[in-house]
Chain length 434, copies 2
Amino acid sequence: MLDALCFWLETDLIMVKRKTTRRAFLKGSVAIGGAALTAGTSVKAGEGDPLITETQEWAQFTGDGVDATPYGMPIDFESDVVRRNVEWLTADTISSVNFTPIHALDGTITPQGCAFERNHSGAIELPKEDYRLMINGLVDRPLVFTYEDLERFPRENHVYFCECAANTGMEWAGAQLNGAQFTHGMIHNMEYTGIPLRTILNEAGLKSEGSWIFVEGADASSNGRSIPIEKALDDVFVAFKANGEALRKEHGYPVRLVVPGWEGNMWVKWLRRVEVTDQPIESREETSKYTDTLADGTSRKWTWVMDAKSVITSPSPQAPITHKSGPLVISGLAWSGHGAITRVDVTLDGGKNWFQARLAKPGERKALTRFYLDIDWNGKDMFLQSRAHDETGYVQPTKEQLRNVRGLNSIYHNNCIQTWWVKKGGEVENVEVS
Amino acid sequence: MLDALCFWLETDLIMVKRKTTRRAFLKGSVAIGGAALTAGTSVKAGEGDPLITETQEWAQFTGDGVDATPYGMPIDFESDVVRRNVEWLTADTISSVNFTPIHALDGTITPQGCAFERNHSGAIELPKEDYRLMINGLVDRPLVFTYEDLERFPRENHVYFCECAANTGMEWAGAQLNGAQFTHGMIHNMEYTGIPLRTILNEAGLKSEGSWIFVEGADASSNGRSIPIEKALDDVFVAFKANGEALRKEHGYPVRLVVPGWEGNMWVKWLRRVEVTDQPIESREETSKYTDTLADGTSRKWTWVMDAKSVITSPSPQAPITHKSGPLVISGLAWSGHGAITRVDVTLDGGKNWFQARLAKPGERKALTRFYLDIDWNGKDMFLQSRAHDETGYVQPTKEQLRNVRGLNSIYHNNCIQTWWVKKGGEVENVEVS
C-alpha cells in the first residue's frame, strides 16, 4: 500500500478542489442528468457539474489489485448482458437454447461467455486426455486421433458466424418476441483455430466412392449429420480454439466442427466421429428436424446454407433510445452463408425510402459484418428495417416474399427483413408492416 | 427430462457395445497414452481403445442445461489458463501487472478475461451514469460528455494490440523468467468499438496553437500522458467496447483511450480528461518513468512507438513438447507499432539457418499476427527464435544488437529476438545464445 500511496501523492491531480462524499456525487449526477446533453451540444467545463469540478470518489482511493481477477468477468453493472433462455420454448433446459445478447454488443466478435448455446442433451464435460476422434467408413486406413495428435497438424485461423437454423423461427406467423436477443440471438461470430477437415480425411485416404460424410458428437444426442464430400473437402474445419482460448464446455470443448455458412446444427460439438459414406444417412436431425415443411405439405430438405440476413441491434426493444431527438447511431449486423456482405440498406419508414448503411469493415466471407447509419432523429415514430446484400447479388427478402414461397409451416431458415417500431419516447417494439 | 430422454432414445448411438464405468475409461486412456500416437500414424479403429469401442460416459447421461451458464466461464480443465502476476516484481498488487497466458492461446484475438492488466492505483469501479469526459485547454468550446453523449457519435471498429512498454523489460540483463507469459505476456489484441478522438476534438474546436494533448484517467494515479496533436488527430481512439462487449473493469470501464502502436501506458483507462496544450506536460509518467536510460547516463524520452517484435508461444517453457519426435507445430505472435507485419522467420539452431514462417492471415496494421512453422522434429535439442519484419522494412534485432545501442540500464522497449532452448525430452528453457 505504501508504494501505491507514494505514487498517488506524487501524481498531479490537477482538477482537485475539495473532497466530497459519494452521496454528493450521486445528487450532482442526477442534476446533470436533467440537462439533456446531446452530442454536439457544448457545456462549459467546471460549471455546475460536481462530477468534474470536485474530486471524484474514484480518484481518492485505490481500486482492486491485479490479483483480484485471474480470469476477469464483466463488471457488475453489466450483469444483464448475458445469454437468456425463453422459458416456454422447450420443455426443459436440456435440449434447449439460450440467446446471445446482441442488442448490447457492438463490433463483430462475440465473446465466448455470452455466445448463444444450443444443445440437445446438455453440455458434457469431456477431458482432453479422454478425447478421441475416429475417421472411418470409406477410407484406406481408419484412424483414431487423440487431442494431442490434432495439435500436430498445420493450423489455420478463420472468423466465421454460426447461426442456428431456427434463428428467427418463432417469427414466421407474426411478430412474437420483443428483443433482438430473442428474435436474432441464435448467432455468434468467433475467430477459430484448428485444422481443415480435409487434412485428416486425406490422412485416412478417401476411397473414390466416398461422396458424403456423417459426423457425430460424443454427447448423448450424438446429433449426427450428413455433409456432402465437396463441402467437407472445401472449408469444413476442426476447431479447438475460439477467440484464442479453448472452446467453452457449452461450445463443444475440446473439439467442435465448424461448417462455414451452413446451419449451426451441423457444427457438431464434442466431435467424436467422421464416417465417410456413399450416401447421406438421413438421420433424425436431417429428416424429422431441420427440414422445412411448405404450404403444400411437402418438405424441403438439405437446406444447409444460411441465406443473407441482417438485423438492427440498436435501437431495438431491449435497447431503446434514451434521448428525445438529435444525433442517433443506428447499428446492426449482417451476414451471408454464401460469402461476403457487400451492402446493407436501412429504412426509417418501413421500406419507402432506403439509405445505404456504412460497413465498419469490408464484409468478410461467412462472418458477421457490422453496419452503422448515423442520423439526426426528429424524435418521431420510425419503422426501422435493414436489408442485406451479399456477393452473389442476393438481396434479403421481406417476410411477405418469404411467406409467398415457403408458406407458414416452417420453423427454420427465416431470413426475412425485421421491423422495429420506434415510438415517440424512444421505446421500441417488434412489429410487422405490410 | 422426458423430452431429453426421448430424444436420446430416438438417436442412433452407432458404436455402443456395452456400458462401462468411469474407472474403466481412465484405465483405458492410460493404456492408449503409452501407444505414442503421432499425427500421420494410423491406429485401427475398434482395436484396443475402450474410449472408442465402449459407450463413453458422456454419451450415457445428459449434461448441463442452457440455464447453467448465463455468462460462460472456461471449463475447469483450463483453470490454469489465467493471468498471472510475478510476486517479486512490485511491492504490492496495487500498482502492478499481471500477464496474458499467451503460451496457452492461439489465433490473434485475446479474450478480455485473460488479457493482461496493468494499473497504477488499482482497478476502479466507475458507473456509466457517473462517467464524464472533459475536453478543455486550447479549444473554442470546453466540452463535457456523458457516456450517452459518446454513444451518439459515428462509431468505428478496429483491432489493435496493446503492449506495455515494460514487456520483456526484465530480460535486458539476461534470461530471467521461464515462460512466454512472463517474458512477453504484457500484450493483448482486441477488436475495439468507439469513436476517433479527432471527432470530439473537432467538436470542441481546436485552436491553431494546440500542438499537444494531455490525457488523464479518473483513477487515483490519473496516469497523465502527453500526446502530439498529429497522433491525436490520426488514429487515437476513444473505446467503449472490446471484443463486442463492455470493457472489463480492469481495462478501464466504461471508456479507455486506444493509442494504436504506442506504448500501453498511454492507453489511459477510465479516461476523464483531454486537455489541448501548446507543449508537453512532462508528467511523472513521461519523465521519471517511461523513459530509457542509456549507457552514458542520458535518457531517451518520447519513445512511444512499440517497434516490431515477435515471440514463439509454443513450444515455450510453459508449453513443452509432449511427444518424442515427428510433426510439430511451432506457433507464435508478431506485431509492430509502425504498421503491418510482412514476414516472420524462425530458426531452430539459434540463428544459423532461418525458415520463413507461414502467416495465418496477411498482417493487419498495429495488430497481432499469428505465425506457424510446421516441422518434422528429430527429437533433438533446438534453439528456437523468431524474427519479425514490418512494412517499413524494419527487422527485429538480436539482444546483442539492442544492447550495443541502448546499454543495460533500460527497462522499457526491449523488442529483441527471444531464444527458447528445447531439450531432448521436450522441456523448454529461456536462455540467451551468443
